[in-house]
C-alpha cells in the first residue's frame, strides 16, 4: 500500500465514522429499542396465550409463531413495505421496520418467555395461592420475577441479534448504519474499508450490550443464588 493510498483511506474512514455512528444513534438504536420493547410485550401476551387453557387462544398463538418463525425476516419486511401499498396501506420505512421487527421478536421471544414461566416450579404457585393470591397476583409478584432471571440470557441473545438484524432495514430504504455505509462506499469506491468500519461499529454496540447483560445477570444471581 502506498503512503498516499493509506492516507486517503484513513481520511475516508475518519470522515465517515461520525455520519455512520449518527445513523446508528438516529435509526439503528431507536429501531432496536422500540422494536424490542414492543416485541417483548407481544411475546409476553403470546406466551400467556400459549399457556392458557383456552384452545382458541392457543391455536392463534401457535399459528402466529409458526408463520413468523417459518418465513425470512427480509421477506416479511418486503411484504410490509413494498407489498402493503397495493392494498392502500402505505407505511413510512421506519414504521414498517418497527412493525416487522416487533412481530419477529414477539414470535421468537414468546417461546423463551413461555419456557421461563413453565420452568418455575409448581410449589411456587402453590405457595402463592396458599397465601391467598389470585392467579394474576401470583404471576406478577412471584412467578414473573423468577422467570425473568431464567429468561435474561436467551432474551439478551435475541436483543443482540436484533441489533444486527436491523441492518435489513436498509433494504426498505431506511438510512440506518448499514445503508449509510453503503452510500459512502458507493461514492468513495472503498467498499472493503467502509464495510469493515460498519462492522466495527456494530461490534462496539454489541460488546457494550453484552457487558450490560453480564451485569444484569450478576445482579440477579446475587439475589437468587
Amino acid at each position: 500500500m502506498t503512503e498516499l493510498r493509506f492516507e486517503r483511506i484513513s481520511t475516508i474512514l475518519s470522515d465517515s465514522f461520525i455520519p455512520i455512528l449518527q445513523a446508528g444513534l438516529k435509526f439503528t438504536i431507536p429501531l432496536t429499542l422500540i422494536s424490542f420493547a414492543l416485541g417483548l410485550i407481544l411475546a409476553f401476551l403470546v406466551a400467556l396465550a400459549r399457556i392458557s387453557p383456552i384452545r382458541l387462544l392457543n391455536e392463534i398463538a401457535k399459528l402466529y409463531i409458526w408463520i413468523f418463525r417459518g418465513t425470512p425476516l427480509l421477506v416479511q419486511l418486503f411484504i410490509l413495505f413494498y407489498g402493503l401499498p397495493s392494498l392502500g396501506i402505505l407505511l413510512p420505512p421506519f414504521h414498517a421496520a418497527v412493525i416487522g421487527f416487533t412481530l419477529n421478536v414477539g414470535a421468537y421471544c414468546s417461546e423463551v418467555v413461555r419456557a421461563a414461566i413453565l420452568s418455575i416450579k409448581k410449589g411456587q404457585w402453590d405457595a402463592a395461592y396458599s397465601i391467598g393470591m389470585t392467579s394474576s397476583q401470583a404471576m406478577r409478584r412471584i412467578v414473573l420475577p423468577q422467570a425473568f432471571r431464567v429468561a435474561i440470557p436467551p432474551l439478551s441473545n435475541s436483543f443482540i441479534s436484533l441489533v444486527k438484524d436491523t441492518s435489513l432495514a436498509a433494504t426498505i430504504t431506511l438510512t440506518e448504519m448499514f445503508q449509510k455505509g453503503q452510500q459512502i462506499a458507493a461514492v468513495t469506491f472503498e467498499p472493503l474499508w467502509l464495510y469493515i468500519e460498519v462492522a466495527f461499529i456494530y461490534l462496539i454496540f454489541c460488546t457494550v450490550l453484552t457487558y450490560f447483560q453480564g451485569k444484569l445477570e450478576r445482579f440477579y444471581d446475587n439475589k437468587l443464588a
Binding site: 396458599s130 391467598g132 412471584i142 443464588a225
Partner: protein, 247 residues
C-alpha cells in the same frame, strides 16, 4: 370448626379420595397419618382448594361450599376459603427472590392490602415467634432447611389464618433439624390455633395431636385421640401401618 362431608377427588381414573368425612375442631391439632399414596396430601390440598374436590362439602363458620362436576366453584369463594387457611409445605416453598422479611410481608401487602408499616411489624413479630429476627434480611437459600421451614410457618401465621395446614413439614429436613421445627409447631398448638398436620413423625404425633385420623387408600379408616388410636385400635390396617413404621 371446619367440617368436610363426602369429599371425593379423582385424578383421571384414579380415585385419590373416596367419601371422606371429618370434623376439625377449633383450637385443636389434628394429625393425619397413613402410608404413602393414601391421599393425605390430596385431602390437605382439598381443604384450601389447591385441589378442588369433585364432590362433597366443606363448611366453615356459616359458609358451606358444595362441589360437583357440573358447577364450577366461583373464584371469590375459593379465595375466601384460602385466605382463612395457611399452608406449610414439605419443601418450604419460600419465595427465593424475596428476603425472609419480604416473604412474610408479601401476603400482608399484596393480599390483605395492609400498609407497609403494619406488614413490617407483623413480619418482625412473627419472626420473633420462630426465633429468626436476626435472619430477616437474608434470602431463603442462605438459611438451613429448618430455618426456612420456620420462616414458612411465620409466613403462614402472619396472615392470621383460622387454620394452619402442614404437609409433612419435616420430611425434607436433616434429622438434626427436625426438632426445631416440631418445637415451633408444638408451641403453636398451645396458643389455641387450629392445626391440621400430615406427618410421619409418630412420636411427635402422639405428643401434639388432640385428634388423629388414619387414612388408607383414599379413605379415613380410623380416628380417635392419640392414646386410643396408637395403643388400642383394633383396626387391622392401622395395626399393620404402625408395625411397619415402627420397625
Amino acid at each position: 370448626m371446619f367440617t368436610i362431608k363426602n369429599i371425593e377427588k379423582s385424578f383421571g381414573d384414579f380415585k385419590a379420595l373416596n367419601n371422606v368425612n371429618a370434623t376439625f375442631e377449633k383450637g385443636k391439632t389434628t394429625v393425619i397419618i397413613g402410608s404413602s399414596g393414601s391421599g393425605k396430601s390430596t385431602l390437605l390440598r382439598c381443604l384450601n382448594l389447591l385441589e378442588v374436590p369433585d364432590f362433597g362439602e366443606i363448611s366453615y363458620d356459616n359458609e358451606t361450599l358444595t362441589f360437583s362436576k357440573e358447577h364450577k366453584l366461583k373464584t371469590n369463594k375459593k379465595l375466601e376459603l384460602r385466605r382463612r387457611t395457611g399452608m406449610i409445605f414439605q419443601s418450604f416453598n419460600l419465595f427465593p427472590h424475596l428476603t425472609v422479611e419480604e416473604n412474610i410481608k408479601e401476603g400482608i401487602i399484596t393480599v390483605q392490602k395492609r400498609n407497609k408499616i403494619m406488614a413490617q411489624q407483623a413480619a418482625i413479630a412473627h419472626l420473633e415467634m420462630v426465633g429468626l429476627v436476626d435472619q430477616k434480611d437474608k434470602y431463603p437459600h442462605q438459611l438451613s432447611g429448618g430455618q426456612q421451614q420456620r420462616v414458612a410457618i411465620a409466613r403462614g401465621m402472619a396472615l392470621k389464618p383460622d387454620v394452619l395446614l402442614y404437609d409433612e413439614p419435616t420430611s425434607a429436613l436433616d434429622p438434626e433439624l427436625v426438632g426445631e421445627v416440631l418445637n415451633v409447631i408444638k408451641d403453636l398448638a398451645k396458643t389455641g390455633i387450629t392445626q391440621i398436620i400430615v406427618t410421619h413423625e409418630m412420636k411427635f404425633a402422639q405428643e401434639v395431636a388432640d385428634h388423629v385420623l388414619f387414612m388408607d387408600k383414599g379413605e379415613i379408616v380410623d380416628q380417635g385421640n392419640p392414646s386410643e388410636l396408637f395403643n388400642h385400635s383394633n383396626n387391622p390396617r392401622l395395626k399393620q401401618f404402625l408395625n411397619r413404621i415402627n420397625h
